[in-house]
């Protein structure tokens, strides 16, 4: 199905669980994966007579998020959002309504495009429901089990303007937002654990027109890939309807990962009446100028700034598209400090960047734990020719696995790069042993480099550097 002539208009709502030690309104532990219903108390269980008390750290993190997204941080109120659901201990959620803490900001994507941020407010999370008895399918369940460990965990809900124009851009938005939240240490960014959740509002319109079509809210998207797929699918679906002369109905739709499509939920014709009113058990929040300043001035470097720093390390010339990608990857994974450290100990920036974007990124979790000085030392060894690239990669793997010092690891593995005379000697041996191939190479068959290199590698137990062999062959050829 073609979507030529149409463009999707997408706004994203991202719910971010804050990495506080305790819940939003009580001192229960904020932790993922504990035994069900072991982190509960009268407050987060909503027992009769319980009352909420606001977590200062959550407010501070919300202010940081507001600052990082260039929002206006304002005095705010909490409101009750009233609805019934078993995972809601009070059958109302304490949230923020028309006086939220952060408004009117923006997020800058790596390519410079800006997406507006309408608001970023604080609210409490719900418990977790497991539907049982239907072989895993919700529709066939005969009962549900509820765990309230997550009930009351602090959330910041970040609502973007409908400025996003493609599935790919949506993905980049979430990646950048996640990187910002992780840089602030407000979130651990684990979509698969549910600490970062994304809902997409999608509508379509004819290309190069203004105005907004009817939108659908897409829920149950659990990964970046699903997000992109869901937006693409929904765009096609809506275009298909409109081109057939049918209207798009305003609906909430579920992304079905198995079927790879969005499905309308069993419906509610009426829009939900949440009967918002100001939360009487909480007083207004109005951070004083001093606190606001403290928070604003202690923001850690943001991803954009960190990307700029890496790019600057690459030097004054044009960075290639590949290098730009490497920079983005490295910062998104939080590995830029490795590159910076390596560069400051004398490693060429392009090499440090490439190794980090490739080998380190492949094992990002462990790369975050590695000692930056050891990492830098290893790259230096490679750069100085003490290790071949292949050897360097092997040492890196060990370094990630069990730490230590690269020199020791190299020695243990019996790596020493061959000295230049040894390379020349071995090449000379191999060349004189294969005169026919040598003739052809001298005649211009450059691909025979591979043939000779292979033999040199065999002869030297892979201790030669491919580049050095190629350079020696060219030198001999003249």
């Amino acid at each position: 199905m073609s979507v030529e002539g149409w463009e999707p208009v997408v706004g994203l709502e991202v719910h971010c669980e804050l990495k506080t030690a305790t819940k939003l309104f009580c001192g229960c532990r904020n932790a993922f994966g504990d035994e069900p219903n072991t982190n509960i108390c009268p407050v987060c269980l909503g027992l009769p007579g319980s009352l909420p008390v606001l977590n200062m750290k959550a407010v501070e993190m919300a202010m940081s998020i507001g600052n990082a997204l260039h929002c206006e941080v304002r005095p705010s109120l909490f409101h009750r959002k009233n609805y019934f659901y078993p995972d809601m201990p009070k059958d109302y959620q304490i949230s923020q309504y028309d006086e939220p803490i952060n408004v009117n900001g923006w997020l800058e994507l790596p390519d410079g495009q800006r997406v507006g941020i309408v608001r970023a407010h604080i609210e409490e999370d719900t418990g977790k429901t497991s539907h049982m008895g239907g072989g895993g399918r919700i529709h066939d369940a005969d009962r549900a089990l509820v765990d309230y460990n997550r009930a009351g965990v602090p959330l910041v809900e970040i609502v973007s303007a409908p400025d996003i124009r493609s599935a790919a851009q949506a993905r980049r938005y979430v990646e950048e937002l996640r990187a910002i939240l992780m840089a602030l240490e407000a979130s651990d960014g684990r979509m698969e654990e549910g600490s970062l959740r994304v809902d997409a509002n999608v509508s379509v319109r004819e290309a190069r027109t203004d105005g907004l079509g009817t939108r659908c809210e897409i829920k149950n998207v659990n990964s970046l890939r699903s997000l992109a797929r869901a937006i693409e699918y929904e765009t096609e679906r809506q275009v298909g309807l409109l081109e057939a002369g049918e209207p798009v109905l305003q609906q909430t739709r579920h992304w079905d990962e198995q079927a790879q499509k969005t499905v309308a939920l069993r419906s509610k014709e009426e829009a939900f009446d949440y009967r918002y009113f100001p939360e009487p058990d909480l007083v207004p929040v109005a951070p004083d100028p001093r606190w606001q300043r403290e928070v604003a001035t202690s923001l850690p470097p943001m991803p954009a700034e960190r990307r700029a720093k890496l790019t600057a390390l690459l030097g004054a010339g044009e960075t290639t598209a590949a290098q730009a990608d490497q920079v983005a990857t490295v910062v998104a994974l939080g590995l830029d400090k490795l590159v910076v450290e390596a560069a400051s100990s004398g490693v060429d920036a392009p090499l440090a960047l490439a190794r980090t974007a490739n080998e380190a990124a492949a094992d990002a979790g462990r790369a975050l734990e590695v000692d930056p000085a050891a990492y830098g030392a290893l790259l230096l060894m490679e750069q100085e020719g003490k290790l071949t690239p292949t050897q360097a990669k092997a040492v890196l793997a060990d370094l990630f696995e069990s730490g230590g010092q690269p020199q020791d690891i190299a020695r243990r593995k019996g790596f020493e790069a061959l000295g230049a005379e040894n390379v020349a000697a071995t090449v000379a041996d191999v060349v004189s042993a294969h005169p026919e191939e040598w003739q052809r190479y001298c005649g211009g068959e450059d691909k025979l480099v591979g043939f000779f290199t292979g033999l040199v590698m065999q002869a030297t137990d892979k201790k030669a550097s491919g580049k050095e062999v190629a350079a020696e062959l060219r030198r001999l050829r003249g």
Partner: protein, 107 residues
């Protein structure tokens, strides 16, 4: 929101009462619905007197206290004993609260 006093709303009907009972998840019999609709309409007639009061330019009072920024430290406190809590649950299974199948979606 208009700065003027809002127009006095119309009288509560039986349909309104039924809608509200659904929203509040309280099942009512037909007799109860009739009885309550009548009683509520009478109360609302009285309460709706507020509509006639001039409140142009008056801020609503959500809190009578002068308090702001009541906050607590992000410090872990003891949780309840799960067994004590589940002992009060109407139905529990596997350390969790059990309910019959949930038909609707969470908003």
């Amino acid at each position: 929101m208009s700065e003027n006093t809002p127009a006095r709303p119309e009288r509560l009907t039986r349909e309104d009462a039924a809608y509200v009972a659904r929203l509040a998840r309280v099942d009512l019999t037909e007799e109860e619905l009739d009885l309550y609709a009548g009683q509520l309409a009478a109360v609302l007639d009285h309460a709706a007197q507020v509509a006639a009061i001039a409140t142009s330019g008056v801020e609503p009072t959500a809190h009578t206290l002068p308090l702001r920024n009541v906050l607590r430290d992000d410090v872990v406190r003891p949780s309840l004993d799960r067994e004590e809590v589940l002992a009060q649950a109407p139905r529990a299974e596997d350390g969790r609260f059990m309910v019959p199948r949930i038909l609707g979606e969470a908003p």
